[in-house]
């Protein structure tokens, strides 16, 4: 059974770059990696998705190495409002496995 693990928590200061890793050793060939952000009392919200190499959008970058056994979400210049729980998701046909979640706290 595929497992998707993340660090439990991270602290950062405003303006810094934050990198959150996700380990997905048993990822299948057709699985994609997606990252979601969740604020308290809200549903998760899509951040970014990728298959391999690097993907960048207006809020984040996603790095997936060639072996695809891990991925790294990069948040440039975080602000206090980025304090949230971040989840990676390995998904393919009929399969959706969320990571354990990383609680990011951004300090002033």
């Amino acid at each position: 059974l595929a497992k998707t693990t993340q660090p439990i928590s991270m602290d950062s200061y405003e303006g810094q770059e934050v990198n959150i890793t996700c380990s997905h050793n048993n990822i299948a060939t057709n699985d994609y990696i997606t990252w979601y952000q969740q604020f308290p009392s809200q549903g998760p919200r899509f951040i970014i998705q990728g298959y391999k190499t690097k993907v960048t959008n207006e809020v984040a970058s996603l790095f997936i190495p060639a072996d695809r056994k891990s991925s790294t979400l990069s948040l440039p210049r975080v602000s206090l409002s980025d304090t949230a729980v971040y989840y990676c998701l390995a998904s393919g046909t009929y399969k959706y496995i969320f990571g354990t979640g990383t609680r990011l706290k951004v300090l002033a």
Binding site: N30, D31, S41, Q42, G43, P44, F46, T93, F98, T100
Partner: protein
């Protein structure tokens, strides 16, 4: 307009009762999901429907029965509630199966006493 809505937002009930949670999406999506988030914040898929057909049914007790009357709705009925059913239940939708962006509802916090 809310994209994915759930009712009720909070549900407190006694063990042994039967309860339902309703979900509606106005995004025109054809795939809908139910997830359970436990007290440790782990998110686990329970069910997925595509065009009103059940396509994913994880190892969920058969006390949980999803029903999709049409593509825009996916309801969750729970029989004989147990203490361990206490959790936050999220509905989500996407435009197709597989690795598509999912849009989540606000969640329903279920507390079983």
């Amino acid at each position: 307009d809310t994209a994915v809505s759930q009712t009720p937002k909070y549900l407190v009930t006694q063990m042994g009762n039967d309860k339902s949670i309703k979900c509606e999406q106005n995004l025109g999506h054809d795939t809908m999901y139910w997830y359970k988030q436990d007290s440790k914040k782990f998110l686990k898929i329970m069910f997925s429907y595509n065009n009103k057909e059940l396509i994913i049914n994880e190892t969920v007790p058969n006390r949980f029965s999803p029903k999709s009357p049409d593509k825009a709705h996916l309801n969750l009925h729970i029989n004989s509630l147990e203490l361990g059913d206490s959790a936050v239940y999220f509905c989500a939708s996407s435009s197709g199966q597989g690795a598509k962006e999912q849009f989540f509802g606000p969640g329903t916090r279920l507390t079983v006493l």
